[in-house]
């Protein structure tokens, strides 16, 4: 069970998160914060219309949170908001133990082991929630 949670791909993303660091060209951003364990990520996106042209994140948290956010950033690049939200729905359902067709998840499927750890689900979805709210939070230019 533990080995399902801490798979190598997860440990790898956790330790060396992809797309990590500030994104200078970001047009949208939002923070995800889990009060209980202190995980905090800020997701920054450069949108091209309805499409994610580029995405990076900063923050700190547990392996699951960092890995999930890292894998998410790799996954969504180049995809449209619609596609992303569909996948998030599937992902959310899968990690909370609901019925889900794993097909569209690709690499993300590695995170599904978290469903056996109810108090870790938030770690796996934090980055996604931040992304969702980033879509609604354009960075206002300073005048």
């Amino acid at each position: 069970m533990l080995s399902e949670l801490y798979q190598e791909v997860i440990l790898d993303h956790g330790k060396k998160p992809r797309n990590f660091g500030e994104l200078a060209s970001a047009t949208h951003q939002a923070e995800g914060y889990n009060t209980l364990c202190g995980d905090r990520v800020i997701v920054q996106v450069e949108m091209d219309g309805e499409t994610v042209r580029n995405i990076q994140f900063v923050g700190a948290g547990c392996a699951i949170c960092m890995a999930s956010t890292s894998m998410m950033t790799s996954f969504v690049k180049g995809k449209s908001i619609n596609e992303i939200e569909c996948v998030f729905e599937v992902f959310h359902s899968a990690v909370t133990g609901g019925e889900a067709d794993m097909e569209p998840l690709g690499d993300l499927e590695a995170l599904v082991g978290v469903k056996q750890y109810p108090n870790r689900i938030k770690c796996a979805t934090l980055g996604w929630h931040a992304l969702s709210s980033a879509f609604k939070s354009p960075i206002l230019e300073e005048k």
Binding site: K15, C37, G61
Partner: protein
Amino acid sequence: MGSKIDVRAEFPILNQSINGKPLVYLDSAASTQRPNTVLAAMDRFSKTSNANVHRGVHTLSQRATDEFEAARVTVQKFVGADDPAEIIWTKGCTESLNLVAASWGGANLQSGDEILLTNMEHHANIVPWQLIAEKAGAVVRPIPISDDCVVDLQAFRKMVNNRTKVVGIKHVCNATGVVNPVCEMAEIAKSVGAIVVADGAQALAHVPVNVKEFGVDFYAMSSHKVYGPMGVGALYGRRELLEAMPPFMGGGDMIRSVSFGKTTFNEIPNKFEPGTPNVSGVIGFAAALDWYQSVGKEEIWAYENELAQALRNALDQMPGVRTIGKCENQAPVVSFVMDDAHPHDVGTILDSHGVAIRTGHHCCMPLMERLGIPGTSRASFAVYNTNQEINVLIEALKNVVDIFSKC
């Protein structure tokens, strides 16, 4: 191990498996478990004497009132107060501290006054002061601490002045086990006429407590941290101060008379105890203190401190592990960080071994910020822990290291 105490049979909850492994409960600083004696005392009350207190002329109510007031005397004696009326029942340490901040603070704090709190305080002894300080225009300032989580007495001495009205001291630190020099700090506070509000949440179960000797004005407690039930606690307050304070909440039993024109308040402790109290909780709290004293406080402390020290020694041997906080006669709380593993992951892996610890900021965010860490993993001890459990914990930590060294 020199000492040997075996009370595990009195704690049925400990006798269970978690994830296929025997439960190793090392989260007593969050909440201790309760021995059968305490559960039985509450059950007996519920099945023989349950009634509302103070207000009834009938036998059950009188019985309930007698037990309720006897419990107050138990707490009074336990903390060395002069007078049972100086013990106010609350729902826990958090309410006790809020009562002091809102009532004493509300009546006494003025614009420009200073409230000094150690940088290691629990949120329960920070936020209530921030709330009242904002209303009063007072300022809340942290008392510096060292990297070992020890109060800098010299800096504290320099900070106090005639604007200092309140000094807040966590007697024993829940995040590190560090014991604060409450006597010395109280003396320094008194030298400028400030009141001293001590947070005794973690102290009752692990170190000697005597409010008169300490010279503190208020002392806050939670039953569930000392083998008693949740939902009940107490506040010791010096009579003179309590008498002068306005009520915290209003309701039944705390008034002398109520009319729409004018309401006059009752004497202490009733003034601060409106509404139906948690009678069975109070009885459980007193039963817990009695049980704890009957096992032997000194014996318990010696035993659990040996356990904690054994764990600290073992952790010091592990590469990539660092313990947090250090002082003489440290309480049996062992906090640590690991180079490669986040506390949250440590907690999950330990749980899969049946080991229950707490991870995170332990409601001490300013302390974590001061120490430059996001949180810690914390193993905290009580009388029912064993040497064998330390071995299980260490083995589990080796598993953590294994997992995170994979890549």
